[in-house]
Symmetry: C2
Subunit: 617 residues, 2 copies
């Protein structure tokens, strides 16, 4: 199956052109539509149901579909997005239930198997009025109504001051809201049907909030926004430098963190038509530096050896003291960090991927500016952080860019040309991380790049088609490969992959792979022992696994055993929000994870030198 096909999606009318043979879920993703695939696209969960306008555009239902879908459904054109592949121009309807409002893997992972056990409860009380023979104090009466017997339950002064009036205004029938055993609010009947929480993932680049109805554990809305700290530097180290600069660098970054968290929570609430005042708890993940900036603590000593965070254990703070615009008595639970460079986001990944519940050795990698590597040996949990640098996010790459509209996301070399996929199917304006990986992988296969990472001259490449050879230009360190000629690009200028870009990629992938190798060595394991490799984070969701293996970013395993798990950090935050058991597990994971400090490892530099190279094809 070769050639391109046009896919149009309803109800939004998004259009993409995809290679013939592309599964519907992938085509939909290219169009910006996330389908629910909790089973990882293995055809097990049947949540990615789509409806084909006609049967002409798709492959015939396979055995999985015939098992999962009823005869009626099949007759109506219902298909599984993960199984049906596009073979010709087609029109596909995405039912709302199959669509994810937020992040695919997050919600998918959650819907499965987590019993809500929230920390926040609201209860409509029906209390007896006090009499001379029942003179219990107001607070005691309320707590008794909630089944709480604690002597000093830490009721906040602001609530205590409202208590007598509020209790009588509501005629002793208030809605009591408790966080754990702590009474936090008395609401007038009819003003609160459900209590909500938000799981917040403060990424260095993007901040996301997931609004959760706490009793059901359902994610009802999401909000996301760029991290405004980005104006002070794209990466963590430049943020730390900014925090230390001037008199109020830290205060500025702290305020920006609070502002954006307020913004994404408000957006998530707006999407679900929920009042921010009904949000009584948030859980927060992010790298340790982001966690420090969020609470207003200097990250200075994280950034310099020996990389010490001020805190690593979980924090319980109040929304009011952080000036968060949710219920002022809401609780803020900051998930634990493991080390200065292995933060609460990694704990979130460990939690949501159930890494330590695997029977066989499993590797997880969260790829970003820093690559966190997690290895569960079956007995021991090892983690390390590698300084991958920003290449995967498009920085320090000549024509690099983030995964935004017009970014070359995938590259496929054909006999005599290049097939580029761009985000939004627009003329290319740059190359993002997944495109970079593909481009290098393809050029390795074509022999344009050799195993040491050197970009060869066209003259030395006899087998290269003239069309491709004509794309190779410049000499020595200036050599570059033209991905899009000026007339093909959206900028009117050529978009190229340079020799220097290849070197950046080598540094990035070498760092991560060396981290993987150190942890394997530490566990006495080899790559072949791994049952699965989980790729976490947005980048891990978009990259072509074949390319990732080809450039040696991760060890070679049969493709089905390399799985993208999406925003697993955010998923962990949601899990810690909806279940106290999960929250305790997160704390345990943070305590039991063994952090391997790579800078003290004599084998790391050697492995890094080796893993920077590419395998000969």
């Amino acid at each position: 199956m070769t050639g391109k096909a046009r896919a149009e999606f309803g109800p939004g009318g998004e259009v993409v052109f995809v290679n013939v043979g592309t599964p519907v879920v992938e085509a939909a993703a290219l169009a910006g539509i996330q389908l629910q695939t909790p089973c990882g696209g293995r055809g097990r969960c049947a949540r990615c149901r789509i409806i084909a306008a006609s049967s002409d555009g798709l492959t015939l239902p396979d055995e999985v579909e015939r098992t999962s879908l009823s005869a009626d459904e099949l007759a109506q054109g219902v298909r599984l997005g993960c199984r049906a592949k596009i073979i010709a121009d087609t029109h596909i309807w995405i039912p709302p239930a199959s669509r994810l409002s937020g992040d695919a893997i997050l919600e998918a992972g959650l819907v499965e198997g987590i019993t809500p056990q929230p920390n926040v409860h609201c209860t409509t009380l029906s209390l007896s009025e006090p009499t001379l023979s029942d003179q219990r104090a107001d607070l005691r009466r309320i707590l008794a109504g909630l089944g709480i017997e604690s002597g000093d339950n830490g009721t906040e002064l602001s609530l205590l001051r409202d208590l007598p009036t509020r209790l009588r205004e509501t005629n002793y029938q208030p809605i009591a809201v408790a966080v754990g055993d702590r009474l936090v609010d008395l609401r007038t009947p009819g003003t609160l049907e459900h209590v909500y929480g938000c799981a917040v993932d403060i990424g260095t680049t993007t901040v996301v909030a997931y609004l959760v109805e706490l009793e059901s554990g359902k994610v009802l809305g999401t909000g996301s926004a760029p991290n405004p700290q980005g104006t002070h530097g794209a990466d963590v180290v430049s943020r730390v430098e900014f925090a230390d600069s001037g008199s109020n660098g830290l205060a500025t970054l702290h305020e920006e963190a609070i502002t954006v968290v307020n913004q994404v929570i408000a957006a998530a609430c707006a999407e679900a038509n929920v009042l921010v005042d009904d949000v009584y708890e948030i859980t927060v993940v992010g790298n340790a530096c982001m966690m420090h900036l969020f609470v207003g603590v200097t990250p200075r000593y994280i950034a310099r050896a020996p990389y010490i965070p001020a805190f690593d254990q979980p924090l319980q703070l109040s929304a009011a003291e952080l000036a968060l615009h949710i219920n002022p008595r809401a609780q803020v639970y900051v998930l634990p960090n493991i080390a200065g460079w292995v933060g609460a986001d990694t704990v979130g990944v460990l939690l949501s991927t159930r890494l330590t519940q695997s029977a066989a050795p499993t590797l997880a990698v969260d790829i970003g500016t820093n690559g966190e590597v997690m290895l569960w040996s079956g007995q021991q949990l090892l983690v390390c952080s590698t300084a991958a640098g920003p290449a995967f996010e498009g920085a320090q790459i000549r024509h690099g860019m983030r995964a935004a509209a017009g970014a070359i996301a995938h590259v496929h070399a054909t006999q005599d040309g290049l097939a580029l996929q761009t985000i939004g199917n627009l003329p290319p304006v740059g190359i993002c991380g997944s495109g970079l990986l593909d481009a290098v992988a393809e050029l390795l296969d074509l022999g344009v790049i050799n195993s040491s990472g050197l970009m060869l001259e066209a003259a030395a490449l006899e087998s290269l088609s003239p069309t491709l050879a004509s794309r190779l230009q410049g000499h020595g360190q200036q050599r570059e490969f033209v991905l899009a000629r000026p007339e093909e690009s959206g900028t009117g200028k050529a978009i190229t992959l340079t020799q220097a870009d290849v070197r950046q990629l080598q540094l990035a992938k070498g760092a991560i792979r060396a981290g993987i190798e150190v942890l394997l060595a530490e566990s006495g394991l080899q790559a072949v022992d791994l049952e699965r490799i989980l790729l976490a984070g947005a980048f891990g969701s978009y990259i072509d696994r074949v390319s990732a293996v080809r450039i040696g970013l991760v060890p070679e395993l049969p493709l089905p055993r390399i799985v993208s798990v999406g925003n697993a950090a955010g998923a962990g935050a949601v899990m810690a929000l909806i279940s106290l058991a999960e929250r305790h597990r997160a704390a345990e994971l943070a305590e039991t994870a063994k952090h391997v400090e790579l800078s003290t490892r004599s084998d790391f530099q050697r492995l890094f030198m080796e893993t920077m190279l590419f395998e000969a094809s």
Copy 2:
């Protein structure tokens, strides 16, 4: 032994005139000098050592003194203030060790047998510096140094923000201050030798703070001031009315409470030359209304039936949120209340008197505007509150006044005249509670007042000496007895006891006595079953026990079994401050005490009618 003697005290030079036969401790008390009498003046503790300038002025050493004091001491004129009685003009030296800086019974009660087990500790840490092989977070390193393993120990944000810098500034050798398991401060070495606490007793009239060095449990200073809320009404009910008046009545009373607490703490600290910033915990007692005003919660529903407090269990608050001028991260522990009219002050009395540790039935009465009655039956602890009204504090009495300079504190009728004792030995300007009791008791004995409380006409009193008879004037409800003639008084006007005054006293003593009788009945006990009666509070310290029994304020017991225990409420606050075990006991006492609501008792009105009367002499 009759007649008067002059006693002068060194080193201060105070002079009082006392009846021959007055024990030195009583004479000293009249001069404003409190001696240590932890044993209750039974000659057991030998802490009230005084030195007589010559042996002429005192009784000879009795057997107790000869046992308690060494031959050397006796030779030097050392005597026990509780045993030695003044028989002639004398000069007595009070050694500093025998003198109490603050409240006699408080300190005396404390010094005995309480092992300090404070909630606050300061520890000079000597931590290892972090390295690449010891990357523990700052907070974890510090907590480990303190032997605290808690995952989330509630470290306050303000401290967390200081932590990294403070730890490095002190070269990893900080002084760590912890309240319970919660780290609250890191101090620079050399800036903190001891940690301090304050026990605060917020009386309706007077507010007292005791500064305690927490490791030793020693009271180092005291501060006291009138409660500035007094300008809005002398009693609790008028405070509650003021709190409800206007828009900021409650805020005003709350601010006044905070202001005066700050003031007395500052005074106590100044006395001991301690910085308020080194005070890391305070315990607070007072009646429930005072506790509500202190934390800013409306006392409205305490004042009206069914008398419901907003809270009764202990509160743990932060100094910062209450705007207290001690260390901003200090903890404020408000002792529990038992009921709306049986407050934390009563819990303090229960704690410090060890009431429930008595083998035999024991009664305790805290006499003030409200009389709280506590009865330990040997098995059960009963408490009730009686509305005694302000008569004992001199209010609603024609010439009533507080126990201040010039107040008639004691009255003794002789064959043909009256002996008045005034505070400070000044010409009388009014009569305070203890004088009122004495006056009525004496007039009962003289037959001037009959058992129904009626003041008789002189004509009807054949046995009355003409001198005394001449003091009886007016008719019917206007009848009055002249205690000081214009020429004898400090005001130039007569100071009299009126028929209406007698009625006020009857109401007051009847209320308290009826409360006692209800509790006795509830326990199935009779007055004769009581082993001891403890009189708590300032008033309880000053009254003549003979007079108290004579007017029927308390049941008749042999005098040695009626014991004044002073500011037992404040003593309880100190005990709860210096020992967590005592604090827990206080909470237990509050939970186990059975509150008897007198207004629901059918027998209370009947008993009140009876107890308002006096026994025939």
